[in-house]
Each structure stands twice: as C-alpha cells, then as structure tokens.
Symmetry: C2
Subunit: 358 residues, 2 copies
C-alpha cells in the first residue's frame, strides 16, 4: 500500500452527478475508492453516546429528527466518509405496521411474537404517516451534507424483518421463524407480501425525502437453505427492487444478503439490485467474480477494525488490491463494533484514500 | 421418489469390508444410500431422556460407559442407521487438558475463559488417561453393534474448540476469540498447536479402541474470513489428518466445516480429509461439484425434519436425486433438534432406503 497522502472527499470533484459513491454504484472504477462503514453512527463514538443519552428509548432516538440528524452527521464530520446512512433501525417497519417493538439495553430488540392470526391486524397503510419523523430526518440530513457526500436510505429485507417479528427478537437458532416458514409457507408468504409492500413504500418515501441510494439489509439470509433463500430472500428482494425502480428510476439499490455464501451469485443475477454488499466471509476471488456483474461493497471484518494495527492494515491493503480495478465501495463486512477505537476508523479512511499498492 | 419398500440395513451385505457407510466413504456410489444423523442420540428420544436422568451432569453421562453405550445404541435399535457415532462431547478435550468445563441446563457449556498465560497449565499428556472412559465406551459399542453398522469416533476441530475455550461458552458474536486470534496470532497459534496434538492423539486412541471412521466438527468455521479460515480451520485440520493417517492408515476422516460456504472447495482440496460433511446452506449443485472430488454427507435442514410432512419429503427427494449418482451418505446439515418427532426420523430413514426417484 502506498503511504501517499490522503485526498479528502471535499477536494475531489463535486456536484450531484459526481459524488464518488454514486459514481461507483453506477459502474465506475474510481481511485481513491469511496468509503463508508455500516453502523458508522454508533456507540464507538463518544459524541454518539452523548446524543444517545438525550433520548429516552432507542426508538425515541430514531423518531427525533433533531437527534437522528445529529448522529447521522457526526461520523461524516469526524471522518469525511463518502456517504451518510440515515440513522434509524430496520424494526421501524414492523413498528409502523402496528407491532409492539421495544429495545432492552444490552439485550437487543423485543417484539410481541407474530402469529399467523395477527395478519389482519397489520396496518400497511400507516407506513408513510407513522414514519414521518424518519422522512423529516432524511430531508434535513440531505440539506446538511457536503456536496460530494451521498445520502443512503435503508430498510430490512422481508425475511430478516420477519425473523425478528416471529422470534420476538434476535433468536439464536431461528427455530420459530423457520418452523413457521417451512410448516405453513402460505401464511408466511402473506406476512412476506405485506412486508414487501410496506418496505417498498418506505424506501420510495425515503427517496422522495432526499435519499440518493438505498440499502436493503438481509442480515439473516445466511440461515436459509438454497430453496428457502430463493423464496424468502431473492423473490421478495426482486419484488421490492421492481417497485422501487418503477417509482424512482435511477436510484441505485445495494442488496446485502449477509452470509449468503455462494448464493450471492444467484442473488446478483436474479434480484435486480444494482450493487452487492459483501460480508467478511466472502473470499476476495469470488468478490472479484461478482464484480464483473455488479459493483460490490465491503468487506473488512469489523473485528479487524477493532483490533487495528498491522493485521488491519494488511487486510485493508488486500481488499483494495483485489477489488480496486472495478466498481467498488470500501466498507466493512458487518457493522462497526462498539469497542472500536475511533482512531482506527480514521486510519482506515486514510489508507483507503491512499489507494491500492502500485 | 419411489414409494418402494424399505430395505433394512441388516438385509444388505454384511462383513467388515462391506459396511455400506464405509463403502460410501471409500468412494462407492450405493443404492440405497447409507444414512445416519448428527445428534441421533439425543433429547428427541424418550429413551435418551430416561437414561440422561440417571446421570448427574452432562459430563458424567459422557464419562459413564454404561450410560454412554446405551444412548449410543438407542437410535441404532430404533431406526437401524448405517452408522453409530460415539456419544460424547467435543469439550471433553479441553476438560482433559485441565480446563474447567461445565454444562448448565438450558444455557449450554460454561468454561473458565482461556487466557494466553494459561498455556503452560494445559496438560496435553493427559489425553489418553483422562479419557479412558470414552475409549471404554468405544470398545463396548463396537462389540455391540450389528455387523453392518459402522462406528464413528469424533472430535471438535481446533478452531471450534478454541472458540469455546476463549469465549467461556457459546459466545454469540465470537468477539473474544476473534480479537485473540487477530490481535495476538502467535499466542493463539500456540493454543491451536496444543489442540492439534491433543485432538490427533484423541482420535487415534478412538480408532485403537474400535472406531472405524472419524468426524471432525468445525462447527464455527463459518465465522472466519478467508485468510482466517486458511490459517485456523484448514491448516490445523490438515495437521490432524496427517497425524491420524500416519497412525491409522485407511481410517476415513469426514471433515465438517459448518458454514464454510464456497470455502468448502478449498477445504476439500487442502485438508486431506476423505469426505465432507455439508451444512444445509450448501446448494445441491455445489454439493455435486464437491462430490466429484470426495464423497459428501448431508445436508437436510434439521428444521425440516422437525416440521415433517410434504416439505420434508420433497427436500429428501431433492437431495437424493441430486447426490445419489456419486459417493454419498445421507445426513442432516446440522444436529437433530430436541423437538423432532421420532416418527419423522423413521420416515426419513424409510424414504432414504427407498432410494431416489427413477
């Protein structure tokens, strides 16, 4: 890796068409590579913890535009990332559908477990109204961002959101949701269909409010066997991509089917997403093969960012060397961990901006 | 799938060279396919729960030959599987090395978290002495098995055993063990080296006691990135395979790097194992490609076995159709779940014995 000096984002070409992140998603291979990090707004930053302390519950934070705008922008100010991602949570969708969603400190989300008989109680018509504060956050962040920094909206993919709804939280073995999907696929399909419509509407409304790209998080895609993956990850994602593209032509969608392994290739071919988020188990050779079809984004192990030092530097260099010749966005393979020293993040950004080794 | 009648294991050819399970591992494509299930001795069986109640702790059960022999044989009597697997636990190795290992009902294993400074306290010389009751169980099971049923010995692979040792149990995010391996790889290598030697010695002693095949469970291989997988899963597995093959030529080793995704191909090529256990996320096309190199074993989703019915029947049929033309052992892609109705297991065995559809 070159030890060359960092090129700050603001010194590169500006203007809406020229945002490096959007250029990469549109198929351009750039040097330096654009960079942002999943969960770049989060507990590893002291300024986040200070803002977090001002909100009551975690959902209060998501639904308070003043605070949500602030935490969205904090990591942009500190590190100069090429993209900001809306600060929110994938569980605002089941919340807007009328399900009870809470966050217990240190235990993660708790929901009333969804039963097939709960279908008629879901309120898909409430998405836009219930989530007005989120759209307000999107609007304000867009206005506040530097001219060359793009704004990413996001949602959970239906399978992943359904796992939380059925398990009632982050289940360890996904037994309840898998038994539901395998044992009563017709009822499960009805839940997925509601989530497809609600998620598409939610994403379209984010674009209308100012989001310039979208990411769909299928965080638990990796627990599905091949036929399940086809039905519960690929098919709903394709349906959402079609709806969003019909309403918002030209807005790129990044699909992130975490843990999909070799099924990433089917996902790339069949969903219609514009780019792939790669988790850290994806080998770089395979990532390069995927990159011949779509731009890719990833995939440093967040534990390496937390550990830092030579191991982190070598891994960043390997990723840049492997993936810089084609459209690529540097990111982690999963979210930033709370114990990550912020100075490691600063070093990562400066290494990415220095570019691949000659 | 044919609805033809079941061919019980005991009506097929007998004699040590002719055990169908061993024939398949030696590269023969058989019809019907041999079948056994990971965790076939377990809580889903009322007779297991009755025997379990006679032991104090879970380790007491593993270390009482009378009881361990009984639970090993129960599923063979009931279902006529083609292989029995020693009833034990992968954590008997850290226990024999001198680490404190306990099992808390409903919470899984608890260990004193291993620190680099604990290295000198490990007692690799104690493996054979400490685990005498396990070898006694192997001896007695071998004598008690029907002539055409093979006996499988097993151990955890070093990476997987190390995760439990360092996390102090089944950690949800593997943060401690990954930070250790990434941040202090030299100390972690020393732990892995001890585990390689201890595991190889343990497996050789199982063969000497009567095990006819071995399975190496790398249950947490799926949380490793590619370079970590090469170093912490493939390299130790290759070292164990070399040691075991030097001492016990001709005894087949099944490697099960659960969740390895496309890295299964590297694992098959580089470890020297004789067969691959496939988890249920491995697509059947890829399984077939792997099968051109080594026999494969797998990979029904255990949730499908718990759910049963048409979904289970279709999945069994798909697996048999895809993999029966080459050396293959039918199994699950993970262990039998406690809530599995035993009658579903009986139906699975009868469907496998009926063979693939014409």
């Amino acid at each position: 890796m070159k030890s060359g000096k960092t090129v700050p984002a603001f010194q590169r070409s500006v203007g809406p068409e020229a945002k490096p992140f959007l250029q990469a998603l549109s198929g351009k291979a750039l040097t330096p590579q654009p960079v942002w990090l999943m969960r770049q707004a989060g507990r590893y930053l002291p300024e986040y913890r200070a803002t977090r302390a001002k909100a009551g519950s975690f959902l209060d934070l998501c639904f308070s535009p003043d605070l949500a705008v602030e935490v969205t922008l904090q990591s942009i100010r500190r590190f100069g990332f090429d993209a900001a991602i809306l600060f929110s949570d994938i569980l605002v969708v089941p919340h807007a559908l009328g399900r009870r969603v809470g966050f217990v400190e240190g235990e993660g989300p708790k929901l009333d477990p969804y039963q097939p008989s709960d279908l008629s109680g879901l309120k898909p018509g409430e998405i836009r109204n219930s989530l007005l504060p989120v759209f307000e956050t999107v609007k304000r962040v867009r206005r506040a961002l530097p001219a060359d920094v793009a704004l990413i909206g996001f949602a959970g993919a239906p399978w992943t959101v359904a796992t939380y709804m059925v398990e009632g939280g982050s289940g360890s073995d996904f037994g309840a949701v898998k038994r539901f999907a395998l044992g009563d696929p017709d009822s499960f399909q009805k839940l997925i269909d509601v989530l497809v419509d609600a998620t598409a509407e939610y994403l379209v409304a984010q674009v209308e409010a100012g989001a310039e790209a979208l990411q769909l998080f299928d965080s638990w895609a990796g627990v599905l066997s091949e036929p399940e993956f086809m039905r519960w990850s690929i098919a709903p994602t394709r349906a959402i991509a079609e709806k969003v593209k019909a309403a918002c032509p030209g807005v790129p969608i990044i699909g992130f089917p975490r843990g999909a392994g070799m099924l990433y290739a089917d996902y790339a071919r069949e969903t219609g997403v514009d780019a792939l988020g790669l988790d850290f188990t994806v080998p770089l050779d395979f990532a390069r093969a995927l990159q011949t079809r779509v731009p890719v984004q990833g995939n440093l192990d967040p534990q390496l960012l937390a550990v830092g030092g030579e191991a982190m530097r070598r891994a960043i260099s390997d990723i840049l060397d492997a993936l810089s010749g084609a459209p690529f966005v540097f990111n982690l393979g999963h979210g930033v961990l709370p114990e990550t020293p912020p100075e490691n993040v600063a070093e990562l950004v400066s290494l990415v901006r220095a570019g691949p080794s000659a």
